[in-house]
C-alpha cells in the first residue's frame, strides 16, 4: 500500500502507482477538506498526478521532487 488514508489526510509514500489513482479519487471526493501529505512521495504515476491536479487537495507536505512541486503549483 503506497497510500495511507488517515482521518484528515492521505499519505502518499514512495512511488504511487496507477492503480491507486481510482481509490485516491474516491477518497478525495468523499472528504470535505481533502488534503494529501507528499513529504515521503518519491514519484507518482501520471494518472495520480492528474488526480492531484484535477481535485487540487491541500498539500500538507511538499514532495521532494522540485518538478513535481512546481507542477502542483507549490514551488
Amino acid at each position: 500500500m503506497t497510500i495511507r488514508y488517515l482521518k484528515k489526510h492521505a499519505v502518499l509514500e514512495g512511488h504511487v502507482a496507477v492503480e491507486d489513482a481510482e481509490t485516491l479519487t474516491q477518497w478525495l471526493l468523499e472528504q470535505r477538506e481533502p488534503a494529501v501529505h507528499l513529504g515521503a512521495c518519491a514519484s507518482v504515476h501520471g494518472a495520480v498526478l492528474q488526480v492531484l491536479l484535477a481535485l487540487h487537495p491541500k498539500v500538507k507536505a511538499m514532495p521532494a521532487d522540485p518538478h513535481l512541486a512546481a507542477v502542483l503549483g507549490l514551488a
Binding site: 514519484s43 501520471g46 494518472a47 492528474q50 488526480v51 491536479l53 484535477a54 487540487h56 518538478h67 512546481a70
Partner: protein, 773 residues
C-alpha cells in the same frame, strides 16, 4: 585507399543509393504511412549526402541536401507526401544520376551544373516553404497541438528568456492521447525523465471538472498537457519520446538559428563535444546491456546517427555513411563494436590536439581524417561482402575457360602415350589424373558461374519508375506486380534483358492496358495490372509478362502485315490466330496508326526478338482478345558454356549450337527430291528443304554420302520451319566456351564465334540463322 579508388567507390555507392532511392520513392508512394519505408528512404538519401561530403561536389550535395531536408520533414509527419513531391524528388534524383555520370567520365562536375542544381534544390525547398506558409499539420498529429512556428501558445508556458538565451535548448509540447494509461504509458514519468530537463509544466488539456461533474469524472482518461524544455540534444530527446513521437510537437526550429538538427555552426565547441562523447558512451553502455532487444538497438542506432548529424558532416564524414550501411537487423553486439570503434570522442580529442599543435595547417588534417576513419571503421568490422570489378570476374572466367580447354588435352595425351609410345601404364595414370583435374575444373567453373549469377530482379527494379511515369503520361492506371525476382541467371543473360523488357512494357502500357473508362465499360477494374513473373525451368529461365489489357487483335495484325507487305495475303489468311499474332515480331511491323513517342515506329517487337535471340533466348506471344496478352521469354541460365554439335564438312570441323538443332538423320540419296536448284526430302510426312553446308560456305565439294549411300542431314530450326543442312559426318556433341569473333574477323557473317578444342584445334561455330538468309 587512394583518392581515385575512393572516388570509384563513391560512384559505385552513389549509384546504389540512387537506385535504392528511386525504388523506395515508388514504394512510399504506394504506402505513404509506412514508417519503415520512409526511414529507409531517408537513410539512403542521407548516406548519399554523407558520401558527397567526402568530395567537393557542391552541386550534387546541394540537390541531395534539399531532398534530405524535405524527406526529413515527411518522415516526421510535418509534411504530407504527395505525387508532386515525389515527382520533384524523382527529377532531382535523375539529375543527381546525371551528375554522377559526369563525375565518372571526367572526375568532376561540369561547369554549367551549378545553375541547374540550384534550380532543382529550390524546387525541392519550395515544398518546405509552401508547407510552412500553409501551416499544413501532419496527418495523425494531435489536433489540439499547434505545430507552426514560435507563435504556438504552449511556448508561453515556458520561460522563453531561458530558451532563447542558451543555444541548443529545446522546447516541446507533449499531448498524450486520452487512452494512454490503458497502454501502460505514464506520460508524467516520461516527461519527468527527459534527459537534460530544464522546465516542466503540466496543465489539463481541457478544463478540470468542477462541482457536480467531479463525481462522474474518470481519472483514467488522460487529460494531461505537458510542455517542457531541455538542453539535451534533440536526437536524445527524440529517442526518449520515440514511442509517442506523433504526440510530441517541437518548437519550430526554422525560427531558431541554432537548431540542433542543422549541423552545428561550431562543431569543435568543447561543450558540444563533451556532451556528444558522454552520450556516445551512454549508447555503448545501453547496447552492452541490451542483449538482443531490437528496439534498443534501433533506438541506439538512431541516437548514434543523430549524434553524428549533430557533429556535422564535415567532422564525421565516413562515420554516418558507415553507420547507415550497417544492415537493418544489425545485432546489438556488432553495433556496439562499431560504436566503440568509431567513438567520435577519441577522434575529436585527437583532432583538437592536432589542430592546436599544427596551428594553421589544421585544415589539411581534416581532409586526411575521413579516409583514415573509414579504414579504421572497416578494420573493426570484418567485411562480409566483397565488391569486385566485373572485369576481374570476367578475367577469372576466361582463365577457368582456358583451364577447361587445357585439361581436355589430357585424354589426347593419354591416347598418344598408349598408341605411339606403347605406354599403357602411363596412359592409365594420365587418365586418372585427368579425372581429378576434370572434377576440380568443373567445380571451379560452377563456382565462378555462381559468382556471375544475378537475380532477375536487378533489371526489374527500374520498371516501377518506368510504369509510373508512362502511365501518368497516358492517363492510365496500372499496377505492377513482380513475382520471382530472386530467380537467378548469368549476368550476361540478365543485363541485355533490360532494353527488350522496357520495349515490352511500353507496348503493354501503350497498346495493351486501356484507359480507365474503357476498362470500366468492359467490366474490368479501372486499374490495369502488369505482372512480371520469373522462374526457373530446368536449365532455362522463364520470364512472363502478363497484362490484363485489350489483347492483340489477330485480324488487325493480319491485315496490317499484308498492308505493309510483310507476308502475302493468301498466306496471312491461312494462319491460325496464334500464329498470326506472332507476326508482330516481324521487322517493320506496327499496328499503331500514328507514331507516338512511346511506340508505333515499327521498331518494337522485332528489336525485342533480335535482342532476346542474341542471348540464345526465345520469345513467344499469346493473347486473348479483351483479356490480355502474355509474352513468354525463355532464356538460358548461362551463356558461358555452349553445347555444340560438331560436324564435318569437306574435311573441316564446324560447330552448330545445340539449341537450334531439331534432329540428326541419315537420308538415303534416293529420297532426296531435286526441283531445279532446290532439294527437299520428306521427314515424318513433312517436306523439309535441304541446303548443302558446303554450298552455303562456298566450299567446292559435294556432300559425301556414307558407305550405305546415305547423306547426313542436320535438321535445324529456322524461324517457324525446319531446314535440313547436308553435312559429311556427325562427330558428336561437345561443351565449348564460345568466344565471339574479334578484330578483322568481327565483320564475318555466318559464324557465331570460335572455340578451342581439347586437342588444340580451333572450332568455328556457325550461326545457321545468318547463314541461311
Amino acid at each position: 585507399m587512394s583518392q581515385s579508388d575512393l572516388l570509384d567507390q563513391f560512384i559505385l555507392e552513389a549509384r546504389e543509393c540512387l537506385e535504392a532511392i528511386g525504388k523506395r520513392l515508388l514504394d512510399v508512394e504506394q504506402d505513404p504511412a509506412n514508417e519503415e519505408l520512409l526511414n529507409d528512404l531517408f537513410r539512403s538519401v542521407h548516406t548519399l549526402k554523407g558520401n558527397c561530403g567526402l568530395f567537393e561536389f557542391k552541386p550534387l550535395e546541394r540537390v541531395v541536401h534539399a531532398g534530405e531536408d524535405l524527406l526529413d520533414r515527411v518522415r516526421h509527419r510535418t509534411l504530407a507526401y504527395s505525387a508532386e513531391l515525389a515527382d520533384a524528388l524523382l527529377e532531382a534524383m535523375d539529375y543527381s544520376a546525371q551528375l554522377i555520370d559526369q563525375i565518372e567520365r571526367h572526375g568532376r562536375i561540369e561547369d554549367g551544373a551549378d545553375a541547374r542544381s540550384t534550380a532543382h534544390a529550390q524546387a525541392l525547398r519550395a515544398f518546405l516553404r509552401e508547407d510552412a506558409s500553409a501551416g499544413v499539420a501532419a496527418a495523425g498529429a494531435a489536433e489540439a497541438a499547434p505545430r507552426a512556428g514560435a507563435a504556438a501558445p504552449w511556448i508561453d508556458r515556458l520561460d522563453m528568456a531561458a530558451i532563447v538565451s542558451k543555444p541548443g535548448v529545446l522546447a516541446l509540447h507533449y499531448l498524450p492521447e486520452p487512452g494512454c494509461f490503458f497502454k501502460g504509458e505514464d506520460p508524467w514519468r516520461l516527461a519527468r525523465t527527459v534527459p537534460g530537463l530544464l522546465q516542466l509544466d503540466v496543465v489539463g488539456a481541457s478544463a478540470w471538472p468542477q462541482g457536480e461533474d467531479r463525481t462522474g469524472w474518470d481519472c483514467y482518461q488522460c487529460n494531461l498537457d505537458i510542455v517542457l524544455s531541455t538542453d539535451a540534444p534533440r536526437a536524445e530527446v527524440e529517442s526518449h519520446f520515440r514511442c509517442v513521437a506523433e504526440q510530441v510537437a517541437w518548437r519550430d526550429e526554422g525560427s531558431d538559428p541554432v537548431a540542433i538538427d542543422v549541423p552545428c555552426e561550431n562543431p569543435e565547441s568543447p561543450v558540444l563535444l563533451n556532451r556528444v562523447a558522454a552520450l556516445w558512451s551512454d549508447q555503448c553502455e545501453s547496447l552492452a546491456r541490451a542483449g538482443d532487444s531490437t528496439g534498443t538497438v534501433r533506438a541506439a542506432r538512431t541516437a548514434l546517427t543523430r549524434l553524428l548529424a549533430c557533429l556535422g558532416e564535415t567532422a564525421t564524414p565516413g562515420a554516418s555513411a558507415a553507420l547507415a550501411d550497417l544492415s537493418e537487423g544489425v545485432s546489438a553486439s556488432s553495433l556496439l563494436a562499431w560504436a566503440r570503434g568509431n567513438a567520435p570522442a577519441l577522434e575529436i580529442g585527437r583532432d583538437v590536439v592536432d589542430e592546436r599543435m599544427s596551428g594553421p595547417t589544421g585544415r589539411d588534417r581534416d581532409v586526411a581524417a575521413p579516409s583514415q576513419r573509414a579504414e579504421e571503421g572497416s578494420a573493426t568490422q570484418a567485411p562480409k561482402v566483397l565488391k569486385v570489378g566485373q572485369e576481374k570476374i570476367d578475367r577469372l572466367m576466361d582463365l577457368i575457360g582456358e583451364m577447361v580447354v587445357a585439361k581436355n588435352s589430357l585424354p589426347y595425351l593419354a591416347q598418344r602415350a598408349e598408341e605411339v609410345f606403347q605406354q599403357r601404364e602411363l596412359a592409365r595414370e594420365i587418365k586418372a589424373q585427368y579425372a581429378v583435374i576434370n572434377r576440380i575444373a568443373e567445380d571451379m567453373q560452377h563456382a565462378i558461374m555462381q559468382v556471375r549469377m544475378l537475380p532477375v530482379g536487378a533489371v526489374f527494379q527500374r520498371f516501377g519508375r518506368l510504369i509510373r511515369d508512362i502511365s501518368r503520361k497516358l492517363g492510365k492506371e496500372v499496377n505492377l506486380v513482380v513475382e520471382g525476382e530472386d530467380t537467378e541467371a548469368d549476368k550476361n543473360v540478365i543485363e541485355p534483358l533490360a532494353d527488350p523488357l522496357i520495349h515490352i512494357l511500353r507496348n503493354s502500357l501503350d497498346h495493351g492496358i486501356e484507359l480507365p473508362e474503357v476498362r470500366r465499360a468492359a467490366g474490368k477494374p479501372p486499374a490495369g495490372t502488369i505482372r512480371i513473373v520469373a522462374r526457373q525451368e530446368s536449365d532455362r529461365v522463364i520470364i512472363e509478362i502478363h497484362d490484363d489489357g485489350a489483347g492483340v487483335n489477330a485480324a488487325r495484325v493480319r491485315s496490317k502485315a499484308v498492308e505493309r507487305g510483310l507476308i502475302p495475303a493468301d498466306r496471312a489468311a491461312t494462319l491460325s490466330d496464334h500464329d498470326a499474332v506472332q507476326l508482330i515480331f516481324l521487322p517493320g511491323f506496327s499496328t499503331a496508326d500514328e507514331v507516338s513517342d512511346l511506340s508505333g515506329r515499327g521498331v518494337g517487337m522485332d528489336v525485342v526478338r533480335t535482342a532476346i535471340e542474341r542471348i540464345n533466348g526465345g520469345v513467344e506471344l499469346s493473347s486473348v482478345q479483351g483479356q490480355g496478352t502474355m509474352l513468354r521469354l525463355s532464356l538460358p541460365l548461362s551463356m558461358a558454356v555452349t553445347t555444340v554439335m560438331v560436324v564435318e564438312c569437306a574435311g573441316r570441323r564446324l560447330g552448330v549450337p545445340m539449341d537450334m538443332i531439331v534432329e540428326t538423320v541419315r537420308v538415303p540419296a534416293c529420297d532426296i527430291h531435286h526441283f531445279k536448284q532446290a532439294r527437299t526430302t520428306v521427314l515424318r510426312g513433312r517436306v523439309v528443304s535441304l541446303r548443302a553446308l558446303n554450298e552455303l560456305l562456298a566450299l567446292e565439294a559435294a556432300p559425301k554420302p556414307n558407305e550405305e549411300g546415305e547423306l547426313a542431314v542436320l535438321v535445324i530450326r529456322h524461324g517457324n520451319e525446319s531446314v535440313g543442312l547436308l553435312v559429311d559426318h556427325f562427330q558428336g556433341a561437345s561443351d565449348i566456351i564460345l568466344k565471339p569473333l574479334e578484330g578483322v574477323l568481327a565483320g564475318l557473317v555466318g559464324f557465331a564465334g570460335t572455340a578451342l578444342m581439347g586437342d588444340g584445334g580451333v572450332l568455328m561455330v556457325l550461326n545457321p540463322k545468318e547463314l541461311l538468309q
